[in-house]
């Protein structure tokens, strides 16, 4: 069990049977907008992740062509370039916090691809995201003003940067143009919010998964060597990492009307969460579910909804191909240059401050030994 808090009265569903109910309910029954408001309010604005109804459908349809497998492989050079630059700064043989290493890389790739924001400007934007993601309890203390100013300043910087990005991206085939080409196009402010959400949805998930994968490989040298020798081992390692550590451990919703799910009455307005992390450790489906065993993915998992790190159904993750490409490019790029080691010790679990996304309970440290 990952320690977290859900709002009072919230209903937490898990397992394959509940998954069928959960993933088949449309957003007119289980609201994504309401659910994500429970997690981070609407302070990043609204976009494909946290809208419902026709606006969601239109925006999703407009953006999907930018996120296909083919589009993702076209983005690979960007990921390589950002990675190469970041790796020149890695201290040889010293302990490195993998999440702290990977997060700015993934962030810059997303900011470059979707908003044309690179380098120093991207790092400033990451600072703004970080301040807004975990704004803390500024209003709970007499001297919380400093934090309040930081958070409010972060939101203003974020809005300003993405507002400028909308203007700068006019002539690029990217999200701005795709959204403007809709029959009933959103205004610039809404387009900027879409960019904010697209970047948010992509960078937190992918950077966490990639850091986890590197850490697991550091602790499992056999699998590390196998992947270094043969890139086709990536799919199984990735599947096993997202099984053990889905970056969205719970998917948040609110009941848009009075509902009944598998004979449980759910009053309108209730928080409803689907527990992906628990579903992935069902001993009926996965033998020794807590163990890292990429080999188990030689065959697809038995049963629908047994493994759903990207969600399922109509609103499955729009960024599967981009996220997978980024994770693969970064992981294999690092393994080509370094042998990773990590101290044995107990497994480091996850914690969740917001009832959906997870962070490691302690820094994921590894040493990077340069390879000849």
């Amino acid at each position: 069990m990952i320690p977290t808090v859900h709002p009072p009265g919230a209903i937490v569903l898990s397992g394959r049977t509940m998954a069928a109910h959960f993933f088949r309910a449309g957003d007119e029954r289980l609201s994504h907008a309401g659910g994500w408001d429970l997690v981070f309010g609407d302070r990043f604005g609204r976009g494909v992740l946290n809208l419902d109804g026709p606006r969601h459908r239109d925006y999703r349809k407009a953006l999907l062509p930018l996120l296909t497998r083919r589009a993702a492989s076209g983005y690979e050079p960007v990921a390589r370039e950002v990675l190469d630059r970041a790796l020149t700064g890695v201290a040889a043989d010293a302990p490195v916090d993998l999440h702290a290493l990977v997060k700015p890389i993934v962030f810059e790739v997303s900011a470059t691809l979707f908003a044309g924001i690179t380098g120093e400007a991207a790092m400033e934007l990451l600072g703004a995201y970080t301040a807004l993601q975990d704004p803390g309890d500024a209003l709970g203390t007499a001297d919380g003003r400093r934090v309040a100013r930081q958070v409010v300043g972060a939101r203003r910087r974020l809005r300003a940067a993405l507002g400028e990005a909308v203007a700068a991206m006019t002539d690029v085939d990217g999200p701005v143009r795709r959204l403007r080409e809709l029959p009933d196009p959103p205004g610039d402010e809404e387009i900027a919010q879409n960019l904010a959400i697209l970047i948010l949805a992509g960078f937190e998930t992918t950077s966490y998964v990639t850091a986890r994968m590197l850490w697991l490989l550091a602790r499992h040298p056999g699998h590390q060597d196998a992947l270094r020798a043969d890139g086709s081992a990536f799919a199984a390692v990735f599947a096993e990492t997202t099984r053990l550590h889905p970056p969205l451990a719970w998917l948040p919703r609110t009941a848009a009307t009075d509902l009944s799910i598998a004979d449980t009455a759910i009053p309108a307005g209730s928080g409803v969460y689907f527990d992906i992390a628990a579903t992935h450790r069902d001993p009926e489906v996965f033998e020794a579910p807590d163990e890292f065993r990429p080999e188990r993915h030689a065959a697809p998992p038995q049963g629908k909804f047994a493994q759903v790190p990207f969600s399922a159904g109509r609103r499955v993750c729009a960024g599967i191909h981009v996220g997978t490409m980024e994770a693969e490019t970064i992981t294999t790029g690092i393994l080509r240059r370094f042998r990773l080691t990590a101290p044995p010790g107990a497994h480091i679990g996850d914690v969740s401050a917001n009832g959906s996304t997870v962070t490691p309970a302690a820094p994921l440290l590894a040493r990077c030994h340069p390879l000849p």
């Binding site: 302070r43 709970g140 003003r145 309040a148 958070v151 409010v152």
Partner: protein
């Protein structure tokens, strides 16, 4: 530093600043006409970051820093309640 009294920090002006800030955060609030009695969270959907924004808006509008206790912004139900609490806290500072 400017003191509150110097810039005429009346309840009416504080209330106007708060309402203007709320509309900046959520433009759609401007369309319906606002009374100030609506619940900040339940009716307007402002969250804790939005409440921080209200605090900063008051500080900026009246050129004051480190005068208003942030805790005042944590719980009040409506902008009218919030205005009352800010003015009461300011009176106590005098």
């Amino acid at each position: 530093m400017l003191r509150v009294g110097d810039v005429g920090m009346s309840g009416e002006r504080v209330r106007a600043v708060l309402i203007a800030a709320a509309i900046r955060i959520k433009p759609e609030l401007g369309y319906g006409g606002i009374s100030g009695a609506e619940h900040i969270t339940a009716d307007w959907g402002l969250d804790s970051v939005d409440r921080m924004e209200l605090l900063i808006a008051v500080e900026e509008a009246f050129g004051i820093e480190d005068e208003v206790d942030p805790r005042v912004f944590m719980t009040p139900a409506s902008v009218n309640d919030l205005t009352e609490q800010i003015m009461a806290a300011e009176a106590a500072l005098r």
